[in-house]
């Protein structure tokens, strides 16, 4: 039916499932310049691939995902660029057509399962809603499917729990409900916006495992947003690092994390705890990310970058490929990482 994730790697990179090109998201102004929040973001996700996006809070990760799902907050819109899903352009697609994709093709999981679940509808009915609409299932069949999906996400006693309301469940169970809801129509692309950030560490691991297993079963591709490098490391195969609305570095997870080529990625790694070397000293990145309206003219990282030179403050560094599939947006990358083998 659908290509499995294992077989997909080589064949489907050419034909990506989601191709985002030069995406700009921001606030359109009637007078003066538009406020650009997400600036020229491009990435590809192949069928069955797991793609992670990391970056500090406010770097534009959520807006990027929401643009794909057509869930941008009021006032914020796609200013330019293209979002190709399975060869179809999503930017400017009529609303009705786009809604038909949401569920069976593209699904989304949010950070806060408590607020993302409708408080007055039983969770089983919320899971059954998508299958009823898109798969044309009867009320009873959709309910059985919902209970089945709940069992698959490891919810004990799913039949009884399906009649519960969100406030009657624990955070971990709620997020499993969200996952069951998102995968109930076997989507080909699952957008996850920090799905485990609100959970305890132990529950985090369990929920991630469930998510991975279900996606592997159905060959679903993941776009996984988080600020946690360890989570990307565990879950994804390729990744992008975002800073102030732009992609700083991208490539395979192994490449980027073991051989970073952007000072910001390096900074993130140095400031994150490492379970293999618990005694290593953590070095925080000095300063704060710029605000949306206060992004500097050149490289957005320049004010915090220990390697910044004159050019960094006047021009935006383009993304350049270092090795196939691994690219970075830094003028000084070669010089900085000269001693490090590529």
């Amino acid at each position: 039916m659908r290509t499995s994730s294992a077989a997909g790697t080589a064949a489907s990179t050419a034909l990506s499932l989601l191709r985002v090109t030069d995406l700009r998201i921001g606030i359109r102004r009637r007078r003066g310049d538009d406020t650009v929040i997400v600036d020229d973001v491009s990435f590809d996700i192949a069928a069955g691939q797991r793609f992670g996006v990391v970056g500090e809070s406010g770097s534009g990760k959520s807006l990027t995902l929401r643009a794909v799902a057509d869930l941008l907050p009021k006032g914020v819109e796609v200013l330019s660029g293209s979002i190709l899903y399975d060869g179809r352009e999503l930017v400017g697609m009529p609303g009705a057509e786009r809604r038909r994709l949401m569920g069976p093709e593209i699904a989304m999981i949010f950070q806060e399962p408590m607020t993302a679940l409708n408080p007055v509808v039983r969770v089983g009915d919320q899971i059954a809603e998508g299958p009823r609409r898109h798969l044309g299932l009867s009320k009873r069949t959709a309910h059985s499917l919902a209970v089945e999906m709940m069992a698959k996400t490891g919810i004990p006693d799913p039949e009884r729990r399906s009649r519960a309301y969100a406030h009657e469940l624990s955070g971990g169970l709620r997020q499993r409900i969200m996952i069951a809801m998102a995968v109930s129509c076997s989507p080909r692309l699952l957008l996850c916006d920090e799905p485990t950030t609100a959970l305890d560490v132990t529950v985090q691991h369990q929920v991630l495992r469930v998510l991975e297993d279900l996606c592997a079963d159905t060959g679903t591709a993941l776009a996984f947003v988080t600020h946690d490098l360890a989570v990307v490391n565990q879950t994804c195969t390729s990744m992008a690092v975002m800073y102030s609305g732009r992609i700083a570095e991208s490539g395979s997870v192994v490449e980027v994390l073991s051989n970073p080529r952007h000072p910001y990625t390096r900074g993130l790694l140095d400031s994150a705890p490492d379970f293999d070397q618990p005694e290593r000293q953590l070095i925080p990145i000095a300063g704060f990310p710029p605000s949306v309206t206060g992004r500097p003219v050149g490289c957005a990282f320049a004010p915090r970058c220990p390697f910044a030179v004159e050019r960094c403050r006047t021009a935006v560094p383009p993304r350049e490929e270092i090795t196939p599939g691994h690219d970075t947006a830094c003028f000084e990358s070669e010089r900085i990482f000269a001693g490090v083998p590529a």
């Binding site: 907050p73 809604r99 569920g103 989304m108 409708n118 408080p119 509808v121 919320q126 998102a182």
Partner: protein, 319 residues
């Protein structure tokens, strides 16, 4: 569900002293009015002797507290006393008028919802947009116009002018009732909807921006399915209390509107009895209105509990 409704019997019990308090208040307030029923019955030219005789016959010369105790005693036997002007049991008079007023109120509520829900939805999908401004103009207008004036205008326009609706009266059959009650109900609905719309509009805007509506959209819900499946019930929760409180005011409004449209309801009965100093009838109507307000309050909480599974009023009050 049922255990969350366990607060109802307690609330019903609490309403008994409230109803008593109201009768007490009205009893003494009513007797502050100058003149009495004997004078009202016999007219201006009656001799003082005949007025005194009738006063004694009606028991109006007894001390007030004795009259009140008598009223309570009768009430205990399910008897509201005898109307001084109609010379028939008050219970019968009140029971005869109740259906008219209750139908009017229910009808007005249905019309209010029929006006408010679509207008609120229209306004909230694009706050600050043209439709929103239009709806807000309507609410301002609806609030600014006095009810009796709206009623008279509707009569002039639709009853006298276009002759599509009757000028007044109640009709004979159920179908006629709905037809005759349309204009008075509409009058009340126009007064009631602005309050509902303001509450519903703002809660719909909040709900539309909520995460769970995002989730619903991510499942492909939009338009009417989004509205009925995810927005309305959540937005209704705060509005239910607003409607509950305003139904009390609506009763007050209906008393006046019944006069304007010559409806044989509690309002007309009440006003006639006040003019004729027919205290037992005034008491009966008041008692019923007080009970009605109390019951509406309890019903509001019941609906609130049914709509919102997070609410547990029994637990909240005992904790």
């Amino acid at each position: 569900m049922l255990h969350r409704l366990s607060f109802v019997p307690g609330r019903l019990l609490q309403s008994v002293p409230v109803a008593f308090g109201v009768t007490l208040l009205v009893f003494f307030l009513a007797h502050l009015l100058p003149g009495n029923a004997a004078l009202a019955l016999l007219g201006q030219r009656a001799t003082p002797e005949s007025v005194a005789a009738l006063t004694e016959q009606l028991g109006l010369n007894k001390p007030l507290w004795e009259q009140y105790l008598l009223f309570l005693k009768q009430l205990g036997q399910g008897n509201l006393g005898t109307s001084l002007t109609y010379q028939s049991p008050v219970t019968g008079l009140v029971l005869g008028a109740i259906p008219v007023t209750l139908t009017l109120l229910a009808y007005a509520l249905v019309l209010s919802l029929a006006i408010s829900i679509p207008l609120s939805a229209l306004a909230s999908f694009r706050p600050g947009g043209g439709r929103d401004l239009g709806v807000r103009a309507f609410t301002l207008l609806g609030q600014g116009m006095p009810q009796f004036w709206v009623g008279i205008m509707l009569i002039l326009l639709l009853a006298v002018g276009l002759r599509t609706f009757p000028v007044g009266g109640y009709g004979e059959t159920a179908g006629e009732h709905l037809y005759f009650l349309f204009l008075p109900s509409l009058t009340l609905a126009i007064a009631m909807s602005p309050t509902i719309i303001r509450s519903l509009r703002s809660s719909m805007i909040t709900v539309l921006e909520s995460d769970y509506v995002g989730t619903a959209k991510s499942k492909g819900a939009s338009g009417v399915s989004l509205l009925t499946g995810h927005v309305l019930r959540n937005a209704a929760i705060p509005t239910v209390s607003v409607i509950g409180v305003n139904l009390g005011y609506l009763v007050g409004g209906s008393l006046v509107i019944e006069r304007v449209f010559a409806l044989p309801g509690l309002g007309s009965l009440m006003i006639n009895s006040i003019f004729t100093r027919d205290f037992p009838t005034v008491q009966g109507v008041t008692l019923f209105v007080a009970l009605f307000v109390v019951v509406v309050g309890i019903l509001t909480d019941v609906i609130y509990t049914i709509l919102d599974p997070r609410v547990d009023l029994g637990r909240a009050s005992s904790a």
